[in-house]
């Protein structure tokens, strides 16, 4: 593993974890979720994290995104060490530099689709760049749904609104936690295809946790996790190869 010391590396590495260890509980009940993880997320790449239940994949995503803290080790987002930030600074990083797509409950029910999309910017009291806003909305096919409340949207539409929100502030990184987990295969496929386009067409970096091989197949690179450790990597995956690999992990 190379160490991030050069400016070159900073330019190509979007995020990294160094010797990340996470333990839940204490004493006899202690569960080690991450065992000295080292990982680098390359800029402009779509990375998928896979693994069986309890492998620590969600914990890895949450700690990389600054939503959860490590017991030891360091997390970097670009040149910022997240593990050195306090709560207020972390909130600002999440607001300004990171986009999120969760599996469910992505949207504030009292805000319209347009308001939900602009939420990270309006929280920061900034206005979205109108061209970018229109572009994202058009790409996701949400043009005629902007004035609707989340309750009036289908599951697929809701997740696309969430994706638009994740991209609206042109974040350095988008973290997605099972984004298609609650969608049917058609809606899920559309969402993942859009995420793929975001990476290809405007160089967005995305890290996604999933247990669905066909979802993971949209990624450039898959990192396999088992029992809190990185056990394998796969570049340019296909669904079949992923499925085969997963079988050996006993998922």
């Amino acid at each position: 593993m190379t160490t991030v010391t050069t400016t070159e590396a900073v330019r190509t590495i979007a995020a990294a974890m160094r010797a990340g260890r996470k333990i839940y509980g204490s004493g006899e009940n202690a569960v080690t979720a991450l065992r000295d993880i080292d990982i680098e997320i390359r800029r402009g790449e779509f990375t998928a994290i896979m693994g069986p239940s309890g492998s620590g994949k969600s914990t890895l995503l949450h700690t990389l995104a600054g939503l959860d803290t490590l017991n030891s080790g360091k997390v970097f987002l670009g040149d910022i060490e997240l593990t050195a930030l306090n709560e207020r600074q972390l909130t600002r990083v999440r607001r300004d530099r990171i986009g999120f797509i969760f599996q469910t409950f992505n949207l504030v029910p009292t805000l319209t689709a347009a308001e939900n999309i602009a939420l990270p910017l309006t929280i920061a009291r900034r206005r979205p760049d109108p061209e970018w806003f229109d572009f994202v909305v058009a790409t996701l096919g949400l043009g005629d749904r902007l004035d609707h409340l989340p309750g009036e949207l289908s599951g697929g539409q809701q997740q696309r609104v969430a994706a638009a929100r994740a991209l609206i502030s042109r974040p350095e990184m988008v973290f997605a936690d099972e984004p298609s987990g609650n969608l049917d295969s058609k809606a899920g496929g559309e969402l993942l295809a859009f995420m793929r386009r975001a990476v290809q067409e405007f160089g967005q970096t995305i890290v996604m946790v999933t247990h669905d091989p066909s979802a993971a197949a949209h990624a450039d690179r898959i990192v396999f996790l088992d029992d809190g450790m990185i056990v394998d990597e796969m570049i340019a995956p296909t669904a079949t190869r992923v499925l085969d690999r997963m079988k050996t992990l006993g998922a």
């Binding site: 607001r95 969760f102 805000l111 990270p120």
Partner: protein, 839 residues
């Protein structure tokens, strides 16, 4: 189901604690009122049973009145009474008015309990008054006085000290020779005592050679009742002999009547607090039922009947209600102590003594708490029963928007009904009996408006919250939309606050209008320059003083006005006794004819005319001395000086002559009012109880009294408002719990803790402001309606206390901020991970 219900309670302790508190506070007020009145009752019973225990029979003028006006009789009666067989000892007494003065000449007491003057007897067995060793001796010579230990302690008087005492005849200086106490009590229910030698007392009270009463100790083995009959037989007409038991009973009856009024008033405030608490309970259970829709649906799906689900909610409510009521009874002790402390603070000294806990107190308080809680959950329980098993399978997050049309109908009907009742009750003459009907009408309006408030909640949130998005961005906008998204919840929470604020506004407006009306009336109806009154309400204006000031060259005319209670057509009414020849020079009663036409008839107020009396009618008037029929010879509008007027001649046959209550003064032509006042004050130096005031001072004094009442009422209403604030906190806490995931999401996408707190805080402020505005609007409308109806009772000008109302709004907003402290903190500390974690 019992087990499911109990587990549910154990699982949501905090929310139930807040709910329980809202009912416990109301119950505590009920229990506190009972404990307080029982305690006072008990103390007085013990005290007066003790006071009269040594007296077997007493002789007195028939139909005694309180205070100095009590009838007297010649002291020759004593010798006859002493000779009646069975009389062991007969002790004469002379009672009257004696106002103790502080060292710098100020009256001691006199605002609440009486200031008693009486004569000393050296018969310890016949009196509860004791001079403990070291506290001197009885009064046996002119210039000597014995005072009560309460006054001695409070004013640091000791045996041997000089003390000034004011009588209706003027002020004199005495030497304290003894200090009395009553067992463990320092005084008689807060009264001040001045005890003189009999001859001295007779002189001081202006009754030389006369007595107020004779206390008789029966010889051994003689029956009290028989002795009383025997003594009565020897008494001249106008006198009677009653047993000690009879006297104790009469005194206690008087006290019970007075306390009954206080207790009724306190219970009315308790009812308000309980009503507000009911709103909170109903709201809490509605929210929790909604939040548990899935859980309830699951129970239904696995076979629980709708009745079992209802039972679960009802059992949960019953347990909460019971715990809250028990806590309320405990808190009631504190409330009772608080009421006693409060009364002490405003100068109504009440005897101490340990608190009395009647079983009735506990029963009533528990019943009130339980019944109110159970009634409050009727609707939520029905809602729970209506949950379909299918709801378990649906997404819990989708809140179905039910139509508010049912609300519109029910709310309009209740409001209309209440308004109708109010209109009907207020169309006639307003009496005390009207009050109950007005209260019922107001209650119906309150309920109706609280039902309708759900419809107004959404627009109100938009309107009241319009600056928030501009000022605070997303937190402001979300505060606004959160307030609007659950209109029923917002409306119930706001309604609880509405009730308290409506009543506070009502009393404030009432007070304001009373003050303004008095100002206006004094300006319009009083050509008089000064009014003379006694600062001690037991007595009227000293005749000696009046005689002296009438002689002053600076004064043009001094017009005394007497006041008495007469029964007019069977109703006790306050009647003023005037001199028709002079009254018009100092007072314009706005009569429909000259007052000189009063003659031997009676002038009645406009309200009585409205009530059906006509000029020319005959009315039956009954006083202590007799009964007669008077012709209504005129009607008048201004009731500042009285509601009925009769002449001094007419009064002679009805009541004993008494001192005037007030004397109105007009200065002589060319004399400066300031000079006249200086001259009156010079004479007044010997009459410390005399109060000379010009119109603005009278108005200011009335203003102060009105303000004191206002402060008292608002203090009592504060409890209802505190309960409402608890309700806001409770609703917010439940909403925050309900929105955990939403809050987590907001935090994840970059909302700071400060912004989250701000969001919850402004939601609270919006709810509070909504409730406050509804309350203020209702309070003003209600006050306006009642005041309009009372125009014939002297409230001629309706004033709106703008400054106070603005203050209430600000305070309500601040209360919202306070209510939001806990929920906002909890919201800001929500762990993002658990909030967004997938199930």
């Amino acid at each position: 189901m019992l087990r499911v219900a109990l587990k549910g309670i154990a699982h949501h302790k905090m929310r139930l604690v807040l709910t329980a508190m809202s009912i416990a506070l109301g119950v505590s007020f009920v229990a506190g009122t009972f404990i307080f009145t029982d305690t006072i009752d008990n103390t007085f019973t013990t005290l007066f049973t003790d006071v009269y225990s040594g007296v077997d029979v007493s002789v007195r003028a028939a139909k005694p009145e309180m205070g100095a006006a009590a009838g007297t009789f010649d002291e020759s009666v004593l010798a006859g009474v002493a000779k009646v067989p069975g009389v062991d000892r007969a002790v004469p007494s002379a009672d009257g008015f004696a106002q103790l003065l502080t060292r710098d000449g100020k009256p001691i007491g006199g605002q609440g309990p009486p200031t008693i003057g009486t004569s000393w007897s050296d018969e310890p067995a016949m009196s509860a008054a004791r001079i403990e060793p070291g506290n001197g001796r009885g009064a046996r010579a002119p210039g000597e006085v014995v005072i009560d230990a309460g006054t001695a302690k409070a004013q640091k008087f000791a045996v041997g000290d000089p003390i000034d005492i004011a009588f209706q005849s003027g002020k004199e200086t005495f030497t304290i020779v003894g200090i009395v106490s009553f067992g463990s009590a320092d005084n008689l229910a807060g009264a001040t005592l001045a005890i003189f030698d009999l001859k001295e007392a007779q002189r001081l009270f202006g009754m030389p050679g006369k007595l107020s009463g004779i206390s008789i100790a029966a010889a051994h083995g003689v029956d009290r009742t028989q002795l009383a009959t025997a003594v009565s037989a020897t008494l001249p007409a106008g006198l009677e002999a009653v047993t000690g038991n009879q006297q104790t009973k009469e005194t206690l009856d008087q006290i019970t009547t007075a306390m009954g009024f206080i207790s009724t008033a306190l219970l009315a405030f308790a009812a308000v607090a309980v009503l507000v608490g009911a709103f909170i309970i109903q709201n809490t259970f509605r929210i929790t039922v909604a939040q548990r829709t899935r859980e309830i649906a699951l129970l239904r799906a696995i076979g629980a009947s709708d009745r079992q689900v209802t039972a679960m909610v009802v059992i949960e409510a019953a347990v909460v209600g019971l715990i809250a009521s028990v806590a309320g009874v405990g808190l009631g002790v504190l409330i009772a102590l608080g009421i006693r402390g409060g009364m002490d603070a405003v100068g109504v000294g009440l005897p101490g003594g340990s608190l009395v806990f009647e079983p009735r107190t506990v029963l009533v308080a528990l019943a009130v708490g339980l019944v109110v809680t159970l009634l409050s959950v009727v609707l939520p329980a029905r809602r729970a029963a209506g949950v379909a098993p299918m709801a378990a399978l649906r997404d819990a997050e989708t809140t179905q928007r039910r139509s508010l049309r049912g609300r519109a109908i029910v709310g309009s009907v209740l409001t209309g009904l209440g308004a109708g009742v109010l209109a009907l009750a207020l169309s006639g003459h307003v009496t005390n009996q009207t009050l109950g009907v007005v209260a019922a009408g107001a209650l119906s309006v309150f309920l109706g408006v609280s039902v309708l408030a759900a419809i107004a909640a959404r627009p109100a949130a938009r309107f009241l919250g319009w600056p928030l998005p501009k000022m605070f961005g997303v937190p402001g906008a979300l505060a606004q939309s959160n307030t609007a998204r659950t209109p029923r919840r917002t409306a119930s929470t706001a309604s609880a606050l509405m009730i308290g604020l409506a009543l506070v506004t009502f009393v404030a407006m009432f007070a304001q209008s009373m003050k303004t009306s008095v100002d206006d009336r004094l300006a319009a109806s009083f050509p008089a320059d000064f009014s003379i009154q006694s600062s001690n309400q037991q007595v009227g204006v000293s005749q000696e003083y009046l005689a002296k000031v009438t002689a002053l060259p600076q004064l043009g005319i001094v017009v005394p006005v007497g006041m008495t209670t007469l029964s007019i057509n069977g109703h006790d009414s306050l009647v003023s006794i005037i001199d028709p020849a002079t009254i018009e020079q100092v007072y314009d009663m706005k009569a429909d004819r000259r007052v000189s036409e009063l003659g031997s008839g009676i002038f009645v107020n406009e309200g009585a005319i409205k009530g059906g009396m006509r000029v020319g009618d005959s009315v039956t008037v009954k006083g202590d001395l007799g009964e007669t029929t008077l012709k209504v010879t005129g009607a008048f509008k201004d009731e500042t000086v009285g509601s009925y007027f009769i002449s001094e001649q007419t009064a002679t046959g009805l009541v004993r002559p008494a001192e005037p209550r007030v004397a109105l003064v007009k200065v002589a032509k060319g004399a400066a009012p300031a000079d006249a006042r200086t001259a009156m004050n010079a004479i007044g130096a010997s009459f410390p109880t005399i109060k000379v005031q010009d119109a603005s001072e009278v108005a200011a004094e009335v203003g102060t009294q009105v303000d004191q009442m206002l402060a008292l009422f608002q203090g009592l209403l504060l409890l209802a408002i505190i309960i409402a604030i608890l309700g806001v906190a409770n609703t917010l806490a439940l909403s925050v719990a309900e929105r955990t995931r939403e809050l987590g999401l907001l935090r994840a996408v970059g909302m700071s803790r400060i912004q989250v707190r701000r969001m919850v805080r402004w939601e609270a402020v919006l709810i509070a402001a909504f409730g406050a505005l509804l309350g203020i609007a209702l309070g003003i409308s209600l006050a306006w309606a009642v005041l309009k109806a009372m125009a014939d009772q002297g409230i001629t000008t309706i004033g709106i206390p703008y400054a106070s109302i603005a203050l209430y709004l600000v305070l309500a907003g601040l209360a919202g901020v306070v209510a939001a402290i806990g929920p906002a903190r909890r919201a800001s500390r929500i762990d993002i991970l658990t909030a967004i974690a997938t199930e």
